[in-house]
């Protein structure tokens, strides 16, 4: 059976949840093979977790170049594996880096790619949710090796383990892949909260929250639920919360178990980023707010009364 390459995302010596989901999605099309493209020493720490997550093979492509330059060295690794292993497909998590890698790899290898897919069948047909979640399309790649950028939380990880056989890859990073040098990395806030795109609970605040200070109420609710904090564009434009937390058309797309929208009207461009959430709960003082059309449960009321009570009730149920 042909292998399916899964590009590994990792942080602090553990594979990200999205990567474990991809290993599971890979089984649909073939034999999951994890690709670790990182600085020397990266793979050793990840190997057990990747095998437990289903990787039959773990390709180890280590070089300092992986961390020093924006994505292109990883494209070199994947392109050489496509050449040598003839995989059935390549799966990459659909984040900022993932989409860039997918697009570059498609050009490099004469392949087609599909961005932000939410489902995949054994025939290689992918499902995407487009136009703010209003249309569902099923598409297929017609050229080269299919490359899929997969939305986090679209697949659930399983505990079906793989052999996890380690194989070292000779890394050859071309000069043109060393054009964009990373000179500094800055992590802004977040604390101990889960990553927004991977979190199973997302609590988002909008214009109704009123100020940067009052966003601490949204943070408290997120913490009570073990979730991540999101924000509408009105809130990020106002500078109340960082842009990387923006959910929607020009922010991130999330698909958590629970999305709690607080003081958010539910404009189409916001819905574009949260429509595929499993359960949606809304708190808004305007009964006509469009967010209620999507909500599985909604409370029409003042968030400054409803949220503190909700936090207290969650505490009581612990």
């Amino acid at each position: 059976m042909a292998c399916v390459l899964v590009l590994v995302d990792h942080a602090g010596g553990t594979p990200k949840k999205a990567t474990l989901e991809l290993l599971c999605a890979a089984r649909v099309l073939g034999e999951p093979a994890a690709v670790v493209a990182g600085a020397p020493g990266t793979a050793a720490a990840l190997a057990d977790a990747l095998a437990a997550g289903g990787a039959e093979t773990i390709y180890v492509a280590e070089s300092a170049d992986m961390d020093d330059y924006v994505v292109a060295p990883k494209v070199d690794v994947l392109a050489s594996l496509i050449e040598s292993e003839s995989p059935a497909a390549v799966l990459i998590a659909a984040g900022v880096d993932g989409k860039e890698i997918a697009g570059r790899l498609a050009v490099r290898t004469g392949s087609g790619f599909l961005a932000d897919i939410v489902d995949l069948d054994a025939g290689g047909v992918a499902t995407q949710s487009i136009f703010g979640g209003s249309i569902v399309v099923r598409s297929r790649v017609r050229a080269g090796t299919p490359i899929f950028a997969v939305r986090p939380n679209a697949f659930s990880a399983t505990d079906r383990a793989g052999a996890g056989t380690l194989r070292t890859v000779d890394v050859v990073v071309g000069d043109t892949s060393k054009g964009a040098r990373i000179t500094d990395r800055v992590v802004e806030e977040k604390g101990d909260r889960p990553e927004l795109t991977e979190a199973s609970v997302v609590v988002s605040g909008g214009r109704g929250v009123g100020s940067a200070e009052q966003f601490s109420l949204i943070e408290s609710l997120a913490d009570a639920l073990g979730g991540a904090v999101g924000a509408s564009r009105a809130a990020t434009d106002a500078g109340w919360y960082p842009h990387q937390n923006q959910v929607g058309q020009t922010g991130v797309t999330v698909s958590p178990q629970l999305y709690l929208a607080v003081g958010i009207s539910g404009a189409i461009q916001h819905r574009a980023g949260m429509q595929t959430s499993k359960t949606i709960v809304a708190i808004n003082k305007d009964a006509e707010a469009p967010i209620f059309e999507l909500a599985d449960f909604g409370v029409v009321g003042d968030l400054f009364a409803v949220v503190p009570q909700l936090i207290e009730e969650i505490g009581k149920r612990r």
Binding site: V137, A143, T176, A180, V187, F297, E313
Partner: protein, 259 residues
């Protein structure tokens, strides 16, 4: 510093957007057409670089005839001249072949910097900067939320999932911008009048030396098999807060086994 800035005409996100039932491509007639928002920020970034470092800004856009409206807007904002890639055979092109056509057109121009939006609001592929980097063989500074140019070195803050990276490269290069980078200017009356006299050249696939069957629906690297309207989400219970709103949400979450 000579700059090429890419713009795309897209269906307005406020309109009812759908696909065409005959060939599964974007139904451009069904919705109002606007300039892709991030591209307006790209035009602003290009004009700001020109104002600081001199040179000329050329807008390049690919799309049907109607795309001229979008090009005129960029010219009215202050872009110097325009190239419109227009050919019926491009209809239904995928992102990968679109990048080939754009790269071919950019290749006819002398440039130090190519600027595009990080993502278009219709297809949301979000990879054009990287794809152009591959095709042109120059570095890409993607997802830029700020740009500083110092001689031939360009440095950006690159938005990441948890903060930003400082990334630098030397020209020639590609930059993709996000909408938080700047506030696009409005075209002035003078700008709108001046735009009418600016040079707009139209290039066909033959002009670019591209085979018609390598682009469009015929050459697309991926295809839409079918599409449907998303099933409406079950409208849930919405209750007024009678003083127990928070508790009722907690009850709902507990019943759903979320807490």
């Amino acid at each position: 510093m000579n700059i090429v800035v890419l713009v795309k005409q897209v269906p307005d996100t406020w309109s009812e957007r759908t696909l065409r039932s005959d060939d599964n491509t974007v139904d451009r007639a069904a919705a109002d057409a606007v300039v892709n928002e991030m591209d307006e920020h790209g035009v602003e970034a290009a004009l700001a670089l020109k104002e600081a470092h001199g040179g000329e800004v050329t807008v390049v856009s690919m799309g049907p005839e109607r795309t001229a409206e979008t090009i005129r807007k960029a010219l009215a904002m202050g872009v110097d001249k325009a190239v419109h890639i227009c050919d019926d055979a491009l209809h239904g092109s995928c992102a990968v072949s679109t990048s080939a056509a754009l790269a071919a057109a950019i290749g006819t121009l002398a440039y130090d910097v190519v600027i595009c939006g990080t993502e278009a609001s219709d297809a949301r592929v979000g990879a054009m900067g990287g794809m152009l980097s591959e095709r042109l063989g120059v570095p890409a500074l993607t997802s830029a939320r700020s740009i500083v140019a110092d001689g031939s070195t360009v440095r950006i803050e690159r938005q990441t999932d948890d903060g930003y990276e400082v990334v630098e490269a030397t020209t020639p290069l590609v930059i993709s911008v996000i909408e938080k980078i700047n506030e696009p200017r409005y075209p002035s009356f003078k700008g709108i009048m001046a735009a009418k006299k600016k040079q707009l050249s139209t290039l066909s696939l033959a002009d670019l030396g591209i085979e018609a069957d390598s682009v469009g629906l015929a050459g697309a690297t991926s295809e839409v098999i079918e599409f449907s309207t998303a099933p409406p989400r079950g409208k849930g219970e919405v209750v007024p807060d009678d003083g127990t709103g928070g508790a009722r949400i907690a009850g709902f979450l507990a019943a759903a086994k979320i807490i």
